[in-house]
Subunit: 320 residues, 2 copies
Amino acid sequence: MAVYTDVTAEDLSAHLARYDIGTLLSFKGIAEGVENSNFLLHTTGGSFILTLYEKRVDPKDLPFFIGLMEHLAARGLTCPQPVRMKDGETLGELAGRPAAIVTFLDGMWIRRPQVMHCGAVGKALAELHLAGSGFALTRVNALSVPGWRPLYERAKDRADTVAPNLAATIAAELAHCEVSWPKDLPTGVIHADLFNDNVFFLNDRLSGLIDFYFACNDILAYDLAICLNAWCFSPDSEFDFAKGRAMIAAYQAVRPLSAAETAALPLLARGSALRFLLTRLVDWLNVPPGAVVTPKDPLEYLRKLRFHQKVTSPTEYGLA
Amino acid sequence: MAVYTDVTAEDLSAHLARYDIGTLLSFKGIAEGVENSNFLLHTTGGSFILTLYEKRVDPKDLPFFIGLMEHLAARGLTCPQPVRMKDGETLGELAGRPAAIVTFLDGMWIRRPQVMHCGAVGKALAELHLAGSGFALTRVNALSVPGWRPLYERAKDRADTVAPNLAATIAAELAHCEVSWPKDLPTGVIHADLFNDNVFFLNDRLSGLIDFYFACNDILAYDLAICLNAWCFSPDSEFDFAKGRAMIAAYQAVRPLSAAETAALPLLARGSALRFLLTRLVDWLNVPPGAVVTPKDPLEYLRKLRFHQKVTSPTEYGLA
C-alpha cells in the first residue's frame, strides 16, 4: 500500500490549469505502487493517473521513465501515456514533489494467470523490446549482477534465520552468476518488473502494461527470464511447462531468440530468481516495527532458484 | 488511510454479475474512509464505489446506514445512492465481508472553506434533517452524552500528559453536560460527522454529502453544533462569526430553529466540542506503535470548548 502525500483540491485544480485536460471533477488517492503516491483523477476530459514521485525514486531517473512511456506509447504499446502540459513539459511539481499525469488504462491484474495470459505477456514483452529500440536515453540496471553482492552483504548475517544454510546457498549462486553471466547477448530497454500486478487484462485480453519504474537497459532475454519466474510457476512454486511454452512461443513469434540467448536462458533464470530472492530477503529482514505491509516471501524465489539450478536444457522451459 | 481488504478481479467480476451495472473495466482501492475498505469501480455502466465493511462497523447497523442513504437519495439529497442487485438486495458479501455498491459522486472536499461553503453546508444539513423524517429505522447515538463518560474513564489517567489539568477540565465539563443536557428538543436523523472531508464541492457548489457511518437519531440542533465546530473556526481555532452567521442563516432558511433550540445552541456546541475532544484524546493516547496514520489533535477541540464556555448568548454564533 502506498503512503500518500497529501494533495488538496485547491492545489490540484491550480496544477491542472497547466494542462489541456479539462477541469477537475474528482480525485482519489489509490492503493497502487508502493514507491510513489498515485491519484485517480476524473476531469471533464476523462480519467487520468497523477503520480507524485516520493523519495525512493531518484529524480534524475524521471526523464528516462517518463520519456520511455511516451516513446513506447507512440509506438503503439498500451502503456500509460504521459500527458504534456501546454508548454510541452511532462514533469511538473505538486505538493513539493515531482509530478506527472498519465492516461488511465482500463483493465485489472489477474491473480491466477492461465496459459493464455502467459502467452499474452510473452507477446507484449517482445513488443516492448522491439518498441524500446531507438529510445535515446539509457539507464543502468542497478539490480543486475553487480548490485547483488551488496544486497547479499546486507542479508548474510541473518539469512539463516529465514531458511537453513540460506547464506551459503546464496553465496554459491552469487559466485556462479558473477563468473558465468553472459556478456554478449542483445541488450535494450527492459521492463525488469513485469509481474502480474503490472499487467492489465480486460476480458482475458491484455489491455496494458504499467509501472515502468524499474525499467533500464539490460539483456533482453533476462527480461523474459524475469517473466518466466513471475508468471510460469504454480502457487506452490512448481514450474508450469505449458505456461512457459506459451510465453516463449508468443515471445518468439514477435522477436525470435538467438541461439546464444536460448542457451543462456537457464542461467538468466537463475540470476533472475537470485535477484528477487535477494531483494525480498533484505525487505523481509528489515520490516519496520508496526509496518502495515506484509513483505513478500523470499523463499518462493529460493524454490524457483532450486528448480533452475537443476535445469540441464532450455527445452525444459518449453522452448520449441 | 484505509487498510484494504484484498479483492481479486476474478471475485469482483463474479460479484458484479449480481448487479445490472455492466461489466468491470477497472477498480482501484482508494484512500477514503478510515473505517472501511473502499474501491472506485469503472464499469461499462459508469463509476461506482464499492465498500467492504470492516470490523469496526457493527453489521447490525448496516441496514440503517444503507437504508438511510437510499431514503435520502430518493428525497433528492445528493448522497451516495445504494445500488440494488437484480434480486433487490443492497447488501452482499465479498471477500468475507459485508459489501455494498453505491453511486459515485463528483466533487472534492475543501481544505480551507470560505463563508460561502459554510452557508452551503448549513443549507444541506437542514435539507438532510427534513429529508430524514419518515425514515423507518432508528439508531441510538453511541457517542452522545451517555457515551462520553466511558471515554473519559479510558483517558483520564494520562490526559494531563497531553495538556495541563486536562482531566479536571474534562471532568467538570462532562458533569455540566450530564446535568444540563436538553431533553425536549426536536430529534431526528443526524449525520453526526459532517466534517470538511465528508462534503464535496464542484466549482464552489455543494455536490454531495458522504460517509453516513456515524448517522443516528439525536437532537437535530446538535448536528448544527457539530458543523459549527467543524466548519466555522479559523485554523488557529478562533471562531469565525461570518461563517457561523452564514451557516445558521442558510440552515434556518430551510428549517427554522425553535426558541428552545436557539437557546440551547451554546450548550450543544460545548457538548459537541467535548465529544470530539474525548474521541480524539482516546485515539491520541492509543496510537499503535509504528502506525502510519497521525491522530487528529485533541487540543483543537479543547480550544473550541473554551470558546463555547465563554459564550453568553447564541447571538455570538451569528444568530440573527
